[in-house]
Structures are given as C-alpha cells and as structure tokens.
C-alpha cells in the first residue's frame, strides 16, 4: 500500500480530539483553506490535504482508472481517515469535494459525524426537471479549451480577476494555486467533476450535514444548493452573503462563523 499521508500531502495541526478535515475543490489545493483553518486550530485537530495531482501530492500515485470518477477521490478520503484511525470526523468539502465527501460517507458513515458542504453541486449540467447551472454545450466548450494551454491562459488572466482591494500579490497566489495541478490530471479531474451526476446519492446520506450556499455563485447557483438541501435527509441550509464560489477565500470569517454556529447548535 502506498504511503497514504505522503500521497495526499496530509498536514495536521491542532491537538484536540475533535477532528475537522478540509477537502479542496477543482483547480485548487490545500492552500485554498489557509484563511479558514486558523479559526479552527484552537478547538479542533485540523487536517488538510491535496488530492493526487494537486499541490504537493505524490503525482506518481495518480491512477487514471482510479480517478476516472469521483469514487476514486472518495476512496482517498476513506484511506486518509483509516490511516489516521479517525472516526466521527467533521468533513468540510468545497465544490466537487462535497460530493466526494458524500460518496465517502455513504460508503463508510462511521468515519464521519458531519458533512459541511460548501458550494455543493450533485450535477453541473441541466437535466430535464433539474437546473444545474450549465448546459452541455458550455461544458463541452470547457473541455475543448482545456485541451489548449489553459494553465498558461489562467496565469495570464489571473491579474484580471482581482478587484482593486486584492492587490498584485493575490493575483500571483491564485495563478500559483491554479497551476498547482498537473494539466493532464486537471483535464481528467474536470471531466470527473463536470460530467458527474450524483443526485441519487444525496438521499443516502446518513450523517448530519450543513449546506453553505453563497448568494451569487456561477458554479453552484442557489437553486442547486436548495436541491441539495431538499434531497439530503435532515440537511441544514445556510444562505450566506458572500459572492462567488469560494467563500472560504473571499469571506473566511463569515464562513467560519457559519460552520461554528452549526456545530454549536448541535
């Protein structure tokens, strides 16, 4: 068995018995959590990691067959928890990692106490009677563009995505974060992400859960968040005043407050 902790570049901080595990989304790595995790290190053992192909993970461990669907990534989560002998973990997933966490908890519910779903989407493409936010053509265009030098392009547009308050440093940081994914792996991860349809997995969730929905999110619109809420038994829904798909980066304080409020109310 490969060294799981090295494979996924698992980093642990904090000493508590209560464990909170953060799973990053597509196009990011564990650096995406660094504004949020300081809110939890005092009260929790905080675990962050990189999916294989992202950040400082062991790229040689990448298996094209294993990661062709999100189930392979869910297996990674389970293996991390089992390697660390964890149970009752509070799982915080962003974007596609929400569904990865759901798949993992549906297979091994005893490993998790809660699923915190930050910008979840069980299906990004519109289907009959379901609004996912994207039509098939747009997703096909995304894959077509990914066949080009998209990392170079992303680097070139990084400064343009900042507003005036963000400054030059953040632009570099975002480009670096984005580029911390191997291009070939990024393409496969994009397909696993944007072609996934995990709607039927929602009602199998057997642990407590919270959906955090941003009010204006082009990747996971409010309708999608409400669909997730309506289909997960007992799910708690919080619509927060944050713009974009990454409130843990754009408004870490509010995101932390929302998570802590949910955990305190239990």
């Amino acid at each position: 068995m490969p060294d799981i902790l090295r494979r996924n570049n698992v980093i642990i901080t904090g000493q508590s018995d209560k464990v909170i595990l953060f799973a990053h989304g597509f196009g990011c790595d564990q650096k995406a959590w660094r504004s949020l995790t300081p809110y939890f290190t005092e009260d929790y053992k905080v675990i962050v990691f990189d999916f294989v192909g992202a950040g400082n993970s062991d790229i040689t461990a990448y298996d094209h067959m294993r990661y062709v669907t999100l189930e392979g990534y869910a297996t990674d989560i389970i293996e991390i928890c089992e390697t660390l002998d964890l149970s009752s973990v509070i799982f915080v997933g962003h974007s596609v990692s929400c569904m990865i966490g759901i798949l993992a908890s549906n297979r091994k519910p005893q490993l998790f106490s809660d699923l915190i779903l930050l910008g979840p989407s069980p299906c990004y493409i519109n289907k009959e009677g379901y609004y996912g936010g994207f039509d098939q053509e747009t997703i096909d265009e995304l894959f077509e563009v990914m066949d080009e030098d998209y990392i170079g392009w992303a680097r070139s547009i990084a400064p343009a995505i900042m507003n005036k308050e963000n400054g030059e440093v953040l632009g570099e940081e975002l480009a670096d974060s984005f580029c911390a994914m191997d291009p070939a792996i990024g393409k496969q991860f994009a397909r696993a992400t944007f072609l996934s349809d995990n709607r039927s997995d929602l009602n199998k969730v057997a642990v407590d859960s919270l959906t955090i929905q941003c009010k204006d999110d082009m990747i996971a619109p409010v309708e999608v968040g409400r669909f997730v809420h309506a289909n997960i038994p007992g799910n708690v829904f919080e619509l927060i005043e944050a713009v974009g798909h990454c409130p843990h980066m754009s408004n870490a304080e509010l995101t932390a407050k929302t998570i802590k409020g949910y955990l305190a109310d239990k």
Binding site: G27, L142, V145, V243, S250
Partner: protein, 103 residues
C-alpha cells in the same frame, strides 16, 4: 503570427492563403481582442478561426463581404466560448470577488 504558421487541412495554395490571411487577420484580431484581452489567447483563437476556414474550404482570393461576416461571427463565437471556459476556471479557483490579501 504569419500565414505560414497555419496548416491547412485542405489544399490551399500558400499564395492564396497568404492573401486571405493578410486581408482578414487584422480586422479579425481586433474583434477577438475586444472579447479576449490577452494576446496569447487571442493568437490561438485567430489560429482556430483560420484553421476552421481552411477546414470548411472557405478560403478564396475573391473579395467577399459575406465571407468577412462569417469569419467575424466565427471569431466572436470562439472568443466568447473561450472566455466562458476561462470564467469557469476563474470561479472554481478564486471566487468572483476575492478579498484575501495575506501571503
């Protein structure tokens, strides 16, 4: 970028292609840059427009206004498509309104 940078899938003489390219590339490139502000991306889109023109056997050496309109439509379509995709990347990895400043 030069006309000879493109590979034509159809049989088009280099002279005809060069004339076609010299005639339409500047106006097409200007239109692409209205949608895509970055030069390297605009270069790639321009290349795609001309490859599509070759593939569709669209290149002639006659002056033809409808031909220009078709090329412009293709350039705009490909530009918007590319920006849509890059906006998805942008939203995935950064959010639309990031305010993190610490490094």
């Amino acid at each position: 970028m030069l006309a000879t940078d493109f590979i034509s899938p159809k049989k088009v003489s280099i002279e005809v292609f060069s004339e076609f390219y010299d005639k339409y590339a500047p106006v097409l490139y200007g239109n692409i840059l209205r949608v895509v502000p970055q030069g390297p991306i605009a270069d790639k889109i321009l290349e795609k427009v001309f490859v599509a023109a070759c593939t569709n056997n669209f290149i002639t050496n006659s002056a033809n206004e409808p031909q220009l309109m078709s090329l412009l439509n293709e350039a705009r379509k490909k530009s918007k498509k590319t920006m849509n995709a890059l906006n998805i990347f942008r939203a995935c990895c950064s959010g639309a309104n990031v305010c993190l400043v610490e490094k």
